[in-house]
Chain length 274, copies 2
């Protein structure tokens, strides 16, 4: 294992830099521990920059920075070079291109991506919506939802709903099991906004066994039983057939990947793999 340290230096919260760093670090055999990433948010003065550079030198760290104001960006770049600290400017290259193409000057306001505008409140509303209408608790959500996810237990319905909520979609999810008749509204809702989440029985069995272990239950419970799973999946196919909506396979897929497919379907966005 390598002794790598990365400082995320930002004039705002530092989320963007953190995501880039995590994506890169995931390519190396490094344990995700608090020791690798060091956050240094809300940089607003040359003193703060000097602190970051001192910290980087003492920790032998790489500095990944997202600094918007031109003076401070210039200062940090210059100091990083002078002090010989390896660093990456995350926003600079794209900012430069955009400045060249835009007819107006940028705002240069740190944290503007978090401004409390219409989009922000739409996102908050979508997050609350997904919590409120999770697990099909209230069929009145079906009408209001932008996307309805339908699947048996343990097909990532809840985390998928939340992920899509962060993209400002109001998502309701409806669990299916043979013993419970789904709300009649499910068959009246526009099938274009419905997506079935299918999963292969082997993956589902594995996930459910892990879930039972986590809950301290034996894996002989019918929940993780092959016959039971078969029954549930058949019931799923039957209901989805009636609704007439597309089905996405979630087996062994991360929510980010499944969500990407759902978005392609819902938005009719470019999807080269069909």
């Amino acid at each position: 294992m390598s002794n790598i340290k990365v400082i995320i230096a930002s004039d705002s919260v530092g989320e963007t830099g953190e995501l880039v760093a995590k994506a890169c670090l995931s390519q190396f055999n490094i344990e995700e521990s608090d020791d690798v990433l060091i956050r240094y948010p809300y940089i607003e003065s040359e003193d703060n920059v000097d602190d970051v550079i001192d910290l980087a030198k003492s920790k032998k760290a790489i500095v990944v920075f997202t600094i918007i104001t031109p003076e401070l960006r210039k200062y940090i770049k210059q100091e990083l070079v002078t002090e010989n600290v390896p660093s990456v400017d995350i926003m600079g290259p794209l900012m430069n291109i955009l400045e060249g193409q835009s007819e107006e000057a940028p705002y240069y306001e740190p944290g503007r991506v978090h401004r409390l505008d219409e989009d922000y409140f739409k996102k908050i509303e979508a997050i609350e919506f997904a919590v409120k209408y999770d697990d099909g608790k209230d069929a009145s959500g079906l009408d209001k939802a932008d996307i309805v996810l339908i699947g048996v237990s343990r097909t990532s319905k809840t985390p998928l709903s939340q992920y899509l909520a962060h993209k400002k979609y109001k998502v309701m999810n409806v669990p299916l099991m043979p013993e419970v008749t789904p709300p009649k509204e499910l068959f009246q809702v526009d099938p274009k906004k419905c997506v079935g989440l299918k999963i292969n029985p082997v993956s589902l069995n594995k996930i459910r066994k892990e879930r039972l272990a986590q809950l301290g239950l034996k894996d002989t419970a019918s929940y993780a039983n092959d016959k039971r799973i078969q029954e549930e999946l058949e019931y799923f196919n039957e209901v989805i057939g009636k609704i007439g909506c597309p089905v996405i396979d979630v087996s062994e897929k991360a929510i980010e990947e499944t969500a990407n497919q759902i978005l392609n379907h819902v938005e009719g966005r470019l999807n080269i793999k069909g």
Copy 2:
């Protein structure tokens, strides 16, 4: 308004590039519309790269790319230069530094950041936890939670819980209102994991009036009444005083910013502004 287009080209979902692009675009007077950002996920061949470049040329778009495999990264960079398409390599600069510092070669596996490892399942569990224990529904969550958020209605408890869940914290939130005695467990739980969310009456009144309007209700309801709000905030102070936990002001703050403060408190992470 400028006629700017950005293609997010990725060998995985394209989240990282999208976040960088959004952070930069937020600095310009550009409406967030589907027309500005074009996603091109799952690039895995030179043909896919050629498609991206054709698209960029026809749309006069900037290409923001996150490509992990060295051959494809080299190919896209070379073609972008040849075809004179403005572009930004998001992962390349940091990957190069990390490759230089790491003792082992990178995995070069696209989408590795989404691998279904322990951290992934911890995140999923945390998201489900926050949904399950939202709104203080079940006091048994207090013991299991890593963080307990306490506040009156409309202090962003639900979206904050979800945001922190994405950082793998199990968060329970507990609403306070004078008429409902909080669960007794709230006064037994470790105050170190509790955070009160305070808000100034003017902001709260504004948010609640908007909320009522959204629900089609009149803003004369007691919910958005100054006296009522004063009462609730006094009750909040009383309960928080009993618990003895820190309080964070959420007035006019985006959830990302409040979450940053909560993380600083909970993790004792570096917080230069105290």
